[in-house]
Amino acid sequence: MLGSTFAFLAALCAAQSQPADAPAQPARPETGFSGLAAGARPKVEIAWNRLYDYDEIHAHLDRLVAAHPGLLSMQVIGHSTENRELRVYTLTQPATGAHDTKPAMWVDGNIHGNEVQGGEAVVYVAWYLLENYGRVPRVTELVDGVTFYLCPMLNPDGRASWFRDAHNASSSRSGRQPTDDDGDGLYDEDESDDLDGDGSITQMRKYTPGEGNMRLSADDPRVMEPVPPNDRGIRGDWTMLGSEGLDNDGDGRTNEDPAGGYDMNRAWPSGWQPDWVQNGAGPYPLYWPETRCVARFWLAHPNLAGVQSFHNAGGMILRGPGYEAFGEYPREDVAVYDELGRDGELMLPYYRYMIIWKDLYSVFGGSVTYAYEGLGVISFTNELWNTDQMFGARADQQRGRASNHRFDDKLLMGAGFTPWKKFEHPLYGEIEIGGFKKDVGRVPPSFMIEEMTHRNALFAIRHAEALPRVVIEPPQVSELGDGLRAIDVEFRNEQAIPTRTAQAAQKGIGRPDVASLEGAGLEVLAGGWRSDRFRPERLELAERDPAALRSERGIPGRGSVRVRWIVRGSGTATIRWRAEKAREASRALSLP
């Protein structure tokens, strides 16, 4: 026991002082802890109870690249407004095929600057897959057969500001391009102000005896509650004055033009609407460099077959449509969404599978709706962390602001709250400043981060497992006489997602799939799609080019399509299925 601890420590020191591929490092022993996410001793140690700044996120991923150079690689796809790198990490086993020959799962996080934990969840996807490649057979199979494109931070500037500057849980959602929110010709001139210097933007309240509309809760004087309308002369003694700040530009309003002021998840082409319909949309779709370079990356990768976007908060697994007027997605695709979404509800307790416009609110120009409506790719947004998770099964009796305090008091020793404290405000006079800090409410407490990242990463991985995989069943050859033969082939998709979604088929997105038969000694006289497995003459004949049949609809999820070719000749031939969003399947055939 003691010895193994020593060995472990020695190995850890070695890992830190030497390159990952140094020969001195002993082979990692297989332990008895196969149920754990990374066994007993991961190759790359990452503390999953923390949030990491922009540089740290990249440093973790770079360590993973160094430790798994064959499997993980990095590219810079563009730069943010403040010139931070937008990085995409590609994860696959190149020995089984180049990344762009496999269906790809895109996972991003942090498109809203304050919704930080998506970044950690993306890193976790990479870490989990790499640690378990060659160790857990399903992971190995997945990394061999699928490509992951991982974009940990789509809004690095917003993240950096949220870490660096005073904020609350919801501010720094935007990017950092100066924007004139109030139309006065000045840009970002009235930001919130951290008047009490606690590093967070909290609340301002003023004691106004008998003239307010709020009172202190009898249960907890830190909690403000509205005084209900009454005829008994009961008035509030307190007035809430909004977020901590000053009227920096002297226009009579406070905090009305903070940094940025737009929403990069309202900027995508499908269903995009201008600012007055959809606040934050910007002057035209993909206006900000962060959004445009990701859209270009997607368009340049037709193998993109699944999209997962990590946000916070509320515990949701969201899918489109984003607005009511769109209608509903095609039935076949809804069935896929429902299957994955319901699995998600199991994997992610306290999360609900929801339709954006119906169950949340209308969103025009969201990124995941673009992935589906524009590119025909099954896509989800997860809203990470639900405050019901604070008390778990007892959440029913513990809701509202008082429960936030109870959690903070009992499990964080009160560290998440800045107590109300007097402050002399230039406009309001003597006021009090206090409230929950920026890391309370929308990100989980540190001890719950690991569970959140694991469950969400595994949901994305489950989605990746559902990407189409085509197999060709053994062909049946029938002699028709006079040297004519019929070759019947069943092409089967083993996974839940079709090779072409109904959306892609209906809108003509990308290229159709192709079923082909090629052989030097073979003449393909006719070919077509069988519509009846028992009656071979029911054949939807190709008008031309029968050796390469086009399929707009592809192969349904866990379904198959059947082809009959009528040929003359002999020799070896190859049957193939080519699709943009599935690996090419081929099968040799020998005709005597």
Binding site: P269, W272, W276, P283, P285, S362, G508, R511, R544, A548
Partner: protein, 599 residues
């Protein structure tokens, strides 16, 4: 109102009539004289021809400092995109209201680039002309002579064509290959026209009014189609379809965000994916002083009233496409002047979504006028001659020819109106030297289709004005363009007065007014919040204090024709000299006044 409907358009007669027309006069304008312009233009360039992009660039650069060159980027094909900025006083050019003129966004209207260049040259050179001087006195003109040079150049290519697509192509025919069957000049005449082939699947028949024109067979009238019609080209992929998968699909003027049609090949991958589209968007967005856009091309919203919609779509977040009613009514008024000045009668192309001029209005909130300067007229009268059209068709039996006077009365009852193409052909027939505009259907042995015919309107035949009309057309368009300067909103402080209440206390009254015809912001801009409000700021010096009122006020709306905004303040000041009122706008000028004491 003068119409040309019943007069054949001989060029001399046309010029005479045009001069007889009462020219539009703005109050400041001297009576119009016969323009000296034709003589000037004659030695510069022969008669306003369409020009290759390189020549447009050279001519624009030759204007020197009188027209500031503004680089806007490059086209997909690497050609320069540029604007010219013309202002009487370059130092004030960015402070006064501006008009942006954009030509040939669609790419198939190269002559409109010549028109825009003409305007630039005239504005830059003829500052002494009273109307031009009046316009330039308080207005900056930005002119983009050629917004789509790649398509523009097809006017001058070895094979001339009106193809508009310049961006990436898709697999249009869904055969798994993209761009494998482009249009091409199969008969080698240097022009892309149409190809027709007798085919029972065809949807087209010859127009009985003129067998050269094709019309859709009307099954309700018992007509069955005879001709299948394709763009001129091969069937390289042997799918019995001709030129159906062009390697280029995306069109600059379908790639703007307003009413963009997703998944239509011409729309492009996403709005502003085309570099020309993005460059135009940025050109406008970066210049908030631009209050009005004039677009020369295939579209029109002046001859024909645009589709008007209510300002607010109640209970619907997504508004109906169209021009807000209040704005449409103003366009109608501008349109009346346009028609009066130019005599234009032809409408424009139907909107398909993603057009530039729609975006400028609907998403940027600027006034947006679409002008289609010339099209083959539809009003040439039917020749009165009795010689019947030769029966060219065989086998179909439609198009009974009117040879016997007795049969005419019966035939008239069932007679359909001549198609627009047949009317266009009348104009061509009536004008000597214009026969180049229609290429007679000529038998051709097609490598894949076999026997077919190639012919139809020559590229640019429908939109390039005849040489004798061009100078006059350009002069009238310029007259309309310069008249617009007088319509732009100009705000000023109409009143800033003070009443002494004693002990250094003053009651101040301020009023902002817009005497111009156009409102400070369009109804679209109000809805869009896309134009900055006017900022009215009380400036207090030497310890003067605000006692009541808002020191800074933002004014979002101000009607035209005398629209007013009023405000009051109480201040304490030692002297009224310490109190000033400043009015700042981005697109309607500004003002600054000291208070006048009133009793």
């Amino acid at each position: 109102m003068f119409t040309r409907a019943c007069v054949p358009l001989s060029t001399t007669l046309f010029a005479g009539l045009a001069l007889a027309q009462a020219p539009h006069q703005t109050p400041a304008q001297a009576p119009a004289e016969t323009p000296a312009q034709p003589a000037q233009a004659a030695d510069a360039a022969p008669a306003l021809e369409s020009l290759p992009h390189a020549e447009l660039v050279a001519r624009a650069k030759a204007l020197g400092p009188a027209a500031q060159w503004i680089a806007l980027g490059r086209s997909r094909g690497g050609r320069e995109l540029f604007a010219l900025r013309i202002a009487a006083d370059a130092a004030r050019a960015d402070e006064q209201p501006a008009i942006l003129v954009v030509a040939n966004v669609e790419g198939s209207r190269p002559w409109t680039s010549t028109l825009a260049l003409h305007h630039a040259e005239q504005l830059a050179a003829r500052a002494a002309d009273p109307q031009i001087a009046a316009a330039l006195a308080n207005t900056t003109y930005y002119i983009v002579p050629c917004a789509n040079p790649d398509a523009h150049e097809r006017r001058f290519a070895a094979v001339r064509s009106e193809r508009e697509a310049t961006g990436p192509g898709l697999d249009d025919d869904r055969d798994g290959r993209a761009g494998e069957d482009p249009p091409s000049d199969v008969n080698g005449d240097g022009q892309l026209t149409l190809l027709r082939v007798l085919d029972p699947r065809g949807e087209w028949i010859s127009d009985p009014a003129d067998e050269r024109a094709l019309i859709k067979a009307d099954k309700n009238r018992g007509e069955s189609g005879r001709w299948r019609v394709w763009s001129e080209g091969r069937d390289l992929d042997r799918d019995e379809r001709v030129a159906e998968d062009d390697p280029l699909d995306a069109c600059v003027n379908r790639n703007f965000p307003a009413e963009w049609k997703e998944h239509a090949p011409a729309s492009g991958a996403f709005p502003t994916d085309e570099p020309e589209t993005l460059a135009l968007c940025e050109a406008l967005l970066q210049r908030p002083q631009i209050a009005l856009v004039v677009s020369y091309g295939a579209y029109d919203n002046l001859v024909e009233k645009p589709k008007a919609v209510a300002a607010d779509a109640r209970n619907k977040r997504v508004p109906a496409p169209g021009v807000v009613e209040a704005d449409a009514n103003l366009l109608v008024e501008l349109g009346k002047r346009y028609v009066e000045l130019t005599g234009a009668k032809h409408k424009g192309r139907a909107l398909e979504g993603g057009e530039w001029h729609t975006w400028a209005y609907a998403h940027c909130g600027v006034w947006s006028l679409a002008i289609n300067p010339w099209e083959l007229p539809l009003d040439t009268p039917e020749p009165k001659r009795e010689d019947a059209a030769p029966a060219g068709e065989t086998g179909a039996g439609e198009a009974p020819t009117e040879t016997k006077p007795a049969a005419r009365a019966d035939a008239k009852k069932d007679k359909r109106e001549a198609s627009d193409d047949a009317k266009r052909l009348r104009w061509i027939d009536a004008h000597g030297g214009e026969s180049w505009r229609f290429l007679p259907w000529t038998a051709f042995e097609h490598p894949e289709l076999g026997a077919c015919e190639i012919g139809g309107f020559a590229p640019f035949a429908r939109s390039e004005p005849p040489e004798p009309e061009r100078a006059e057309l350009a002069r009238k368009q310029l007259e309309f363009l310069t008249s617009l300067a007088g319509d732009l909103a100009r705000v000023r402080i109409d009143e800033f007065s003070a009443r002494a209440l004693g002990a250094g206390l003053y009651e101040l009254r301020g009023a902002v007014a817009n005497p111009a015809r156009l409102p400070f912001t369009s109804a679209s801009a109000v809805r869009m919040r896309s134009l900055r409000p006017a900022r009215l700021e009380l400036e207090l010096a030497n310890g003067a204090q605000l006692v009541a009122g808002e020191r800074i006020q933002l004014v979002r709306e101000l009607e035209g024709s005398g629209g007013r905004f009023e405000a009051r303040w109480l201040v304490r000041a030692r002297s009224l000299d310490d109190v000033r009122l400043e009015l700042v706008t981005q697109h309607a000028g500004g003002d600054r006044r000291a208070a006048q004491e009133r009793p």
